[in-house]
């Protein structure tokens, strides 16, 4: 009798047999997320309450099995890709909105609530949940918390961390704690801030207290097109320099515009070198003032034309093209690899030029859609994995893109996280001491190393153990990954 069999029986007792999967198909399905990384797991469980999450964690601990929390599985960095004999704890059956308290500008929700469902529920009450990742139809609030998700509107409204007041968390030892507070400040170190963006390595999010953002009275959405990428990026910098922080500022290059248009029929100008979606919101007067600045800035950078959304349907159409970009790339080639680097806004043109050059050298198709306002790039490499040698070229090009962004003063990830995919790039941006400090955070929550092991931090990063931390570098750490974990 193996530990896994014992654990399965104990979990079936706790959750009911229908909430515990161990058949080969389920194990394959849950062996990966939306990234290219494939792993493996022993059991997949679907708790429906805090108590059931606790039971999952306790049973896994008793049987020495690692725990991998998972929301909707839309992660792009392998953060919820399990490894080894993991118990994958899927929170998608916890979809209740527990309470909405406009008087306190907060709502409590279960982790499996899809982002868009929450926004749609809040809308009639005059509020929204500001983070709006492109995956929002599917991605869950728990997953948004764990990756500190962004989305187009975090330029003006801030990332998920700014919109999470408190969290109920099942710690790796099974204890349930509330981090943060329903009020504006909590006592103690801000453990809530550590939990947001922790990619499921510090505990399992069991309930989220989100901050409600009042809906802006007026929203104005414009689409500009440009005959050069440099002009488009120049307009972005000019808008910001002139004192406007638009609600959203999204850029797409010609390659992705063509693909998105074929897919979404949004009426995008496919002959332009780049398009820029600018959304401003606020009171009518604030919108007018911002619109004037935006129009002047885009004219100064030779915008060819502007299309203004006259109503919600037209706005939705402009956004449909943007938000379905990643679906649209399926029309280019069967596989894609997506990056998520952030670079200083003023370096956009240089970095973009470098990205085109790298793709050309590796004979790969690259398209770019990005949150231009905050410098968050999403270069998409499209390819066909079945063509021998292609995957190797994709991985080489990817590493060059990451190094280019880091060299420009950027960060490895703006909103997707590090997961498995980028953990071995961490030494590019952090020293051994920095990584050791990060490892100290992890061991404060999870001294026994039970929760989502091998994610985020490269092997060798240890709390307080500098000798080991110094010995780590990208190449060596990569060799430590179990065989077959990649791709």
């Amino acid at each position: 009798m193996t530990d896994v069999d014992d654990a399965r029986r104990a979990l079936e007792d706790a959750l009911g047999p229908e909430h515990v999967l161990s058949d080969p198909l389920a194990l394959r399905l849950y062996a990966r997320d939306a990234s290219m990384v494939e792993g493996g797991c022993a059991l997949v469980v679907f708790p429906e309450s805090n108590e059931e999450i606790v039971a999952c964690v306790r049973v896994a601990n008793e049987h020495g099995l690692p725990v991998v929390p998972r929301g909707s599985g839309t992660g792009l960095a392998g953060g919820s890709t399990p490894i080894g004999d993991a118990v994958v704890v899927v929170t998608t059956k916890m979809t209740r909105i527990l309470e909405i308290r406009p008087e306190d500008r907060l709502a409590w929700v279960e982790p499996g609530v899809p982002n868009l469902d929450l926004a749609n529920t809040l809308r009639p009450r005059g509020f929204t949940f500001a983070p709006d990742p492109s995956s929002q139809q599917t991605s869950s609030i728990g997953g948004n918390v764990s990756t500190n998700a962004g989305g187009p509107h975090c330029l003006a409204y801030g990332v998920t961390s700014s919109h999470v007041l408190a969290l109920d968390v099942v710690l790796p030892d099974g204890e349930v704690v509330r981090l943060g507070s329903e009020g504006p400040e909590a006592g103690g170190f801000d453990l809530r801030a550590l939990m947001v963006g922790a990619e499921g390595t510090l505990g399992i999010v069991a309930a989220v207290c989100v901050r409600l953002t009042p809906l802006a009275p007026v929203t104005h959405t414009m689409l500009f097109d440009f005959m050069s990428v440099a002009d488009c990026a120049g307009a972005v910098s000019r808008i910001i320099a002139d004192g406007v922080v638009p609600a959203a500022l999204e850029m797409m290059d010609q390659g992705i515009v063509v693909a998105a248009e074929r897919f979404a029929h949004a009426g995008y100008p496919t002959d332009a070198a780049a398009i820029l979606i600018v959304e401003v919101d606020g009171t009518a007067a604030a919108v007018d003032a911002q619109t004037r600045v935006v129009e002047t800035a885009t004219q100064a950078h030779r915008a060819r034309s502007v299309r203004v959304a006259e109503n919600d349907a037209e706005r939705a159409l402009i956004w449909k093209g943007r938000k379905s970009s990643f679906g649209a790339v399926a029309t280019i080639a069967p596989h894609y690899h997506l990056h998520d680097c952030v670079v200083p806004r003023t370096q956009l043109v240089e970095v973009l030029t470098g990205v085109y050059e790298i793709a050309e050298r590796h004979e790969l198709v690259v398209t770019n859609v990005f949150h231009a306002g905050d410098g968050n790039l999403h270069p998409l490499l499209s390819f066909d994995r079945s063509v021998p040698g292609t995957l190797e070229r994709v991985l080489e090009a990817s590493e060059e893109i990451v190094r280019l962004c880091v060299g420009a003063g950027g960060a490895l990830s703006g909103e997707h996280g590090i997961g498995l995919e980028k953990r071995d790039f961490m030494p590019l941006v952090f020293t051994a001491e920095d990584l050791s400090a990060q490892a100290c955070v992890r061991s404060a929550f999870d001294p026994a190393g039970r929760m989502n092991p091998q994610k985020v931090l490269p092997d060798g990063a240890r709390c307080g153990d500098f000798a080991m931390a110094r010995g780590s570098d990208a190449t060596r750490a990569a060799e430590d990954l179990p065989g077959g974990a990649w791709i």
Binding site: S162, G183, G187, P217, V244, A289, G414, I418, V441, A444
Partner: protein, 346 residues
């Protein structure tokens, strides 16, 4: 009391390593404007950050400023104003950036500008065991490791000594206006809920102040929306106009869910931020009245640290005390940084 006045980050590292070797306990001091927040702590030396006062880099088009922790808030305010921008702290000019961040101080304009910790994008800090570490990045969006920088913010100098920060800054408002209304907390809540984009609604015993800022025509529009709620009696651009708690020897900064502000105010020396849930309460002393206030506030899930005078932080339940303790032990294993000063006596 010894004084350590480092001139560089390396000096800070040396000082902390020395303190570990010689079992000397340190109190980190910036501009002395936020030192009262924290539990009493017996230390052997003060470590002043005020020589670490450089503006490291500031590019208005990036909306990010990188500054050393000992820089005075007033200096930063002037430098950013030249780029048409601001860091939305309302701390006094003499406060240091590091002090504002480490003390978890809030802006009176929090309703609009958010929590100051959300402006902290990157921190370089020297841990209690003398390691210079960095967390975060100089970009407005970043999910690269744990947000240790946000946990250091508000940690009262008990986890690590902040030596440098990258701050997200914002455009200076083109116009500002404060309207005054006769009314109480309930009017304040109504204004906070009805005026889109209001920067602050401060209720105090005599009246309600509504602060507006933004584009000139936006402020006009907000003012006319507010006038539909109630008639205002005066206009200016300062905010707050009155700080009734300011003359008190002891000031507690209460944080509660916004709808529970009523349970936190008492006496006639308070000011409450509607829609935010912060209240400053002035008290004559740190004994009976403070205890009573804390009892009420803790019962409704809030906190009431003293930010001026004696009284410390109080003893509300702290989230996940075992994790808090392990974090402190990992970063300050010898208890060099302000022993007992933090929440839960950490």
């Amino acid at each position: 009391m010894d004084l350590i006045h480092p001139a560089s980050k390396a000096d800070v590292v040396d000082a902390v390593q020395d303190a570990n070797a010689s079992a000397r306990r340190l109190l980190v001091v910036g501009g002395r404007r936020h030192l009262d927040k924290g539990n009493p702590s017996e230390v052997d030396a003060e470590l002043w950050t005020t020589q670490l006062d450089r503006l490291v880099s500031y590019e208005p088009a990036e909306m990010i400023a990188v500054v050393e922790a000992g820089m005075r808030v007033g200096e930063l305010r002037r430098a950013l104003a030249e780029g048409g921008q601001e860091w939305p702290s309302d701390a006094p000019d003499e406060a240091t950036v590091g002090g504002v961040i480490a003390s978890g101080s809030s802006s009176v304009r929090r309703l609009k500008v958010g929590a100051l910790r959300d402006t902290v994008l990157e921190v370089e800090a020297v841990t209690g065991d003398g390691r210079l570490v960095k967390s975060g990045a100089r970009t407005v969006k970043n999910v690269t490791g744990y947000d240790l920088h946000k946990a250091i913010a508000g940690s009262l100098g008990t986890l690590a000594i902040v030596v440098q920060v990258a701050l997200k800054v914002r455009p200076l408002p083109r116009a500002r206006r404060t309207l005054t209304f006769e009314g109480d907390l309930s009017l304040a809540s109504t204004l906070a809920a009805s005026v889109p984009g209001a920067a602050g609604v401060l209720a105090h015993p005599d009246e309600v102040e509504l602060h507006l800022q933004g584009w000139p025509e936006e402020v006009d529009e907000q003012a006319s929306i507010a006038e539909r709620v109630a008639r205002s009696s005066a206009e200016t651009d300062a905010f707050p106009l009155v700080r009734p708690w300011d003359a008190s020897p002891v000031v507690a900064e209460v944080a509660v869910p916004p709808s529970k502000l009523g349970g936190a105010v008492s006496g006639d020396m308070w000011g409450a931020l509607a829609g935010v849930g912060l209240v400053w309460v002035g008290l004559e002393s740190a004994d009976g009245d403070l205890d009573a206030l804390r009892e009420r506030v803790h019962a409704i899930g809030g906190i009431a640290p003293v930010v001026r005078g004696p009284g410390g932080l109080g003893a509300p339940p702290i989230p996940a005390p075992s994790v808090q303790r392990r974090l402190k032990e990992a970063f300050d294993p010898n208890g060099v940084l302000g022993p007992g000063r933090g929440w839960g006596e950490l």
